[in-house]
Symmetry: D3
Subunit: 248 residues, 6 copies
């Protein structure tokens, strides 16, 4: 396995995978969504961000990537055309099975990195990790360690410093900037500014009523350079996590 | 959406997706697996075959591709290093959710195209399609039509004509040839010939015992040209199915 | 237990069952269906075939029969009058529970013999067997061995030799012949010839549209003698499997 | 369908079944168990009693019998050799599917008659019936009516009059007498008298500790004539229920 | 924990709970229902009876009470205004989780005491106890003991002696008397006498049709003194069970 | 129903409940947990806070309270003595059933108010509400509106103004202050200050390792007066929500 460009676990052969597991290689499992992101961004917006970060981190740290899962639980964007939202149990089971099999293979240091960060979506991923972590293991076996995070956990840290608008969110300036830096060919326009007032506590069946343009933020304030800076920062942070997992 | 190269549904914006659905665009949902395929082929062997076919068919027919799902139910290869096998219910639920959401979006002509073709795997996909097909729909709604097939349903038709060995199967001459034509960079050697006698009826927990090299067939008989011919034939056949679905 | 005619496990007393298990007796679990089989055959056509085979094999080999389960998953015949189709999960759970309890009793050599052979039906039975086989057992315990097959796995082998029509299937010449030999009193007429073109890949909600008479084959070509020959052949083959299981 | 001996629904053809449903024929679904019944009775003791009653009622009233389900939930007899106890959900699902399909077929007057009468077992059957009964039906459809009972609901009524011992129960005088009248060939001895004190409220994992002989009652007090009288009484009572269902 | 008035487990601190578990303290888990009880009794009638008994037993014996669960499975009262009936699986899971966690905490002597006593409701509680009891435990661990009962198991014993009407049941003389003694402020009138003929075997979707007043018995025959006597008797009996569990 | 003190829905009779539903009465469903809260607070800390708020809001606004559910999903406190943590599915099902039955009763304006606010716990409650909200209803039926919130959604708003320490959380100054104001008799000491560094992303099986005293914050900074002020503020805020729901 001296091809440094081979970052995807499933591009390895069975023998190469066995060796990578024996070497204690960290694995990132990128998760995304198929969800409307306004008129200016593609449905895969969440997916390509986490996958981009994962690939860059893999190049930098030598970790591997499990095949990406591009479907997520979409609550706010649930009823928009193009959204493919999966059930809570479905996401839980996919994550549980993938994590379980990685651990069976001996890949015991794993990061689930999701570009979509809704609370149900995050909970499903965390509960899946929890199930794996809590499983009884034989004494000889290496105890698995699993992190679950969104690249937006880091994006939010840098948002103010880069001058992004307050309250920027779904399909807003940050997401647009990041996609401009990752896949400029998928930018379909400038987007529409919208800072919606979604109900604070009420669980509604028609959230789209509150942001019919599908945007929460100001995509017109986006900039490719800022997106690039943001992406680089996140890559650096996730790479730190990989290094932390390598240590123990 | 006049970019002919945009074949992936999730690279569209929400508005573009709405238009594509209104236009009656056929959607292919490619499914694969992460499964050992001998020492000479990558774990993604099943995935890249169905995805390649799907992309070529999309280019040819103007249909769209739902994001690929690269995990499958692996029985024979279950215990080999690198295999990530998911539960029956997990595959069923992913397929059911994706099909359900495509239909909700108005994409009512769908082909599930899987590169992995184990019987449990196929059953899970077919039962998911069945659940969607059997759902009561309002009279006004367009009744969905869903096909479920493996590219190997067609590959087997041409096998003899192209001179492939009899009994060739998993990681054998055909798969190796096809991967040689699709992703030559992922070929890791010549492979080992093996025509195993798996138990005909017994359900065993250690099928790897019967083909420790992970091959069922003769990969040394592979040829890139034959793989190309095979791929072209399958593209043509699946394209026919898309045209059939377009008609009604 | 010197009554050779006692082939049904549940006609034993608890003590007799304990002894049979301790003796390593093989158990066959016959499964059938309640499904339309044209105007000339009864709904229990699948059930009586596998049960007949099982009884004859038991007489020949001394194995025992778990009480038959006469319900199956019927896809093609799903909507015909008289069909009682059960859910995938239901069949899976019945088979899992029965196998699990047989193994708990010490019956560790089991054949699931089904007269119905649809792919969902077979998959449910195989997955149930797989769950039992994969269970961790203590080192002292005898590891269970389970075979899952349809009597039609053998019937098809002899079909050409006995001169049955090509493409003969559901309620066709073979099934009719076999029922003529087993329960002639249940033959209700000559039946109607029909070689339907069911959709090759499409999962449809109204398969009956393609064979309204409920037949796939030519029941008019049936013969009691051929049915008898076929049954005898299958008994012989299944008896071989029992002997194989007895050995180890 | 002028063969009066044809009492089993699945011995009909699809057309005959359609006619029977259109005629409003009542269907009995016999349920049993595979459970230890002392040294003197077979494991199928519960099954053969309910099936015998069902057959006799069918002969008398012209109702039909769905194929019997011979597996039940066994709590007290759970750990004895020979017992095959299924899970609560399994029994529920089998009953739900069978009832659902009977109703789909137009068989809307149904009696579930179980020879095993444990409280979990009865609850599973009743909940299944409840699910079917509560389903929304179109206005045009005939509303289903379902009864769930054990033949022991009636047996207990006559017990004192026939002079059976007080507190007689599982594998005791009544069961033994009834089996003597139904299948004398399956009587394996006189049985052992035992009136155990099972814990009144405690849920225990080893109930067999309290009645190691597997009997609760006095089988030595059994008599074929009394069994016959009991069976006749129950046949009469269940026949009344069928007549009641026929009326409306 | 020298406050004798502290009978509720969840009023303890974590340290106090640890000590109570180490001391082998018995825990009662009171379960009730929200179900119509005629015009004269509150919906919480079942809940306050079992909770009252539990509190008095705790004062008397030093056992502790897990927080009460006030929702049950209501079949007969299902469709009345005010009833909140939960699904079978829901009650099972709540009971299983609470019992499982109590045992994890070291509380291994538990009584589930329910004021509602419908057969589905009781079965759900017993199956939950059974699951916990049957779990494999390490040899060192104390094997849990769990009792499941209704206060009406004892109430019925004393009914005749106290002169309550025969056939008295739901919202009748006994329940009314007991509530008069426990929470006289919740008595809303004298109630209406009704001895309904519910179908003996038929599972109906509208049981309220048979007792539109919501009463099965004669609440006008209620007396606070009798209620008090009844309550005291039940407290005494349940206290005996606690003492029995303390011993071993 | 002119007894203003009757705030609990299940203290009503069936007729009173019918009237309250017809009057459009808002219902609050209080949810809590049984979770360690340091050495100084009881396990019911979460429960008594939400129940206190709910009772006060009911007194103020005339809304009703469904019986409280005192069990929650506890991740951080999972392994401490005394914690009774339930499964995700269990909480979901309880909330779904209770909400479903409230809506069936005609109570279509509901607030789920939880004192425990972990993310899995909140997600389970929100998904339950979502399932009810998304259900198809007949046109005539009143569409339900459901809010899901924690009293801590409001507590955090006032925290700084009342001078509570930054980063105060579980069993810290705010919770301690509030319990001092609600149930001073349950305060068991001053508590221990602890601002733990829990892993930011890693899902761990032993979170207690990071805060062995069970506290996240500074309970020694608690004050009954501040707790009272906090409680009053939350009551006011939740009362506003009730009024908002009353309007439409």
């Amino acid at each position: 396995m001296n091809k440094p460009s081979c970052v995807w676990l499933d591009e390895l052969s069975t023998q190469e995978a066995a060796k990578a597991a024996a070497d204690g290689t960290v694995v990132i499992f990128p998760v995304g969504s198929v969800e409307e992101h306004g008129a200016h961004l593609p449905l895969c917006t969440d997916s390509i961000q986490s996958e981009y970060i994962a690939v860059e981190v893999a190049k930098k740290t030598g970790c591997l990537l499990a095949p990406a899962f591009r479907h997520g639980i979409c609550n706010a964007g649930h009823n928009f055309p193009g959204t493919i939202s999966i059930e809570f149990d479905t996401l839980f089971m996919v994550a549980r099975d993938v994590l379980s099999e990685l651990v069976r293979n001996g890949f015991c240091r794993i990061i689930v990195l999701t570009g979509h960060a809704g609370s149900s979506h995050m909970t499903a991923l965390k509960l899946a990790a929890q199930e794996i972590i809590r499983r009884k293991t034989s004494d000889a076996a290496r105890k698995p360690r699993i992190m679950v995070l969104s690249d937006y956990d880091f994006a939010d840290e840098l948002s103010e410093q880069l001058g992004f608008p307050k309250g920027d969110g779904h399909a807003g300036a940050i997401e647009t900037s990041r996609v401009m830096a990752i896949r400029p060919d998928l930018i379909k326009g400038k987007g529409e500014k919208c800072f919606p007032n979604l109900p604070r506590f009420e669980v509604v069946s028609d959230p789209e009523r509150y942001f019919p343009c599908g945007v929460m933020g100001d995509p017109t304030a986006a900039s490719k350079d800022k997106g690039k800076a943001m992406n680089e920062y996140i890559v650096e942070q996730v790479a730190h996590l990989v290094e932390e997992l390598k240590k123990d």
